[in-house]
Symmetry: C2
Subunit: 232 residues, 2 copies
Amino acid sequence: MWRSGDRTAHGPKPTLNATEIARAGIALADADGVQSVSMRRIAGHFDCGAMSLYRHVPGKAELLDLMLDTVIGDEGVSHVKTGGWRSRLEEYAHISRRIYERHPWILQVESSVRPTLGPNSLDAYERLLGILSTSGLAISHVPATASLLVAYIHGSAVRRQVDTMLADHSGVSDEQWWAERQMFWEEYFSPERFPTISRAYEAGSFEHPERDFEFGLQRVLDGIDALIALSP
Amino acid sequence: MWRSGDRTAHGPKPTLNATEIARAGIALADADGVQSVSMRRIAGHFDCGAMSLYRHVPGKAELLDLMLDTVIGDEGVSHVKTGGWRSRLEEYAHISRRIYERHPWILQVESSVRPTLGPNSLDAYERLLGILSTSGLAISHVPATASLLVAYIHGSAVRRQVDTMLADHSGVSDEQWWAERQMFWEEYFSPERFPTISRAYEAGSFEHPERDFEFGLQRVLDGIDALIALSP
DNA sequence: ACCACTTGCGTACACCGTACCCAGTGGCGA
DNA sequence: TCGCCACTGGGTACGGTGTACGCAAGTGGT
């Protein structure tokens, strides 16, 4: 599926290819969420039967893998090589964050059961390890530090998605769901039971969740910096 | 759904309740993964029809929410109050990590579209904020720092799951999938194209991925510590 | 006893992924 | 030039899913 150009040319030329199918799936997922991506709907976009897609893609799970690797390749290629390790890590984090913001459905794909490792993901991983290896960090710590960064970026994307959904009620069409949620909140919540949440709320500490990513990123980089400072 | 004991008592006594249904779903998800959780299968466990469950649970999405809140309540209640903020945060992180290890399917539920906020999740959040508020951190920074920790814990759980799956080939029954993965890897990977990955591999830096969580956690706590040290 | 109300549950529908099979197509060997 | 056959597109069908709807049965308050 990953390689696209090794035709033995013994039959009619294919009118579809895996990348185009993935692009259609990406457009669908961006518009209506990943749960609305179905083989029949993608096939409808090409005015063909659902089973035609299986000539180019082994199954739906692999199609999702390919969609993920495609968006990573679209957005992650451009990168500067100048600057210190910290600013380059910041840029890597911001690029990743932008990918999650434009294609929130990747969170579900990445949390799915099968480990995805496409060529573009592999390139991005090499780039991240390359930045870390020039930071003065011991090579034995480089993969674990990369995992730390990737974990933080992924996790904060999940939190951000939940926050925006709580803020503007988007994505969930069920109006009654919000009513029940509100009722549960008013019934269960009390300042006595949740003193710290109340105190933070009154101090206005929940008003700018969009700044949380940058805040946490700086703390993570500070932690990495502290480890580098210990190295000889 | 969340409240369980407000019967007006005008009909037959219910033989099922939402919590029992959630427990059956948890058992199913623990055993065979979340994709095998279906209303019919849960109903089969109770020897009843699928539609009987809808008397106690609004829908499948809400059932998954309830399952998530139930496992959080099971494992997160016990907590020590002694010790400094750092050791208490470490314990919070380890409890969370244990939850993810025992019930890997929560990752998919938490990455789903709807924001989950059950009573047990709310209790855990208050506890986390309480620890942070006694650490010397300004109250304006407490929620963002909590988000940092939650994001790291969640993200590293995703990475850990992928790593274990790559290590022992579990979860994916498709044997041919692994063959294709191996073929892609051997064809696409080369030390020239991925110098840093190769160098780290030869240095043995990928041999203990299970230590990555503790490593990253210490870096995160170091970053928080650096911020606290700046406060007056 | 009545009956309002709750509970259990069977039926039905729309949708999903995909196994299987068949017809058409066009490059290549004879 | 012609037939072969690997390859393509695509239709049908099957087992699975979530759940809307309706109905019989049971039960505590009046």
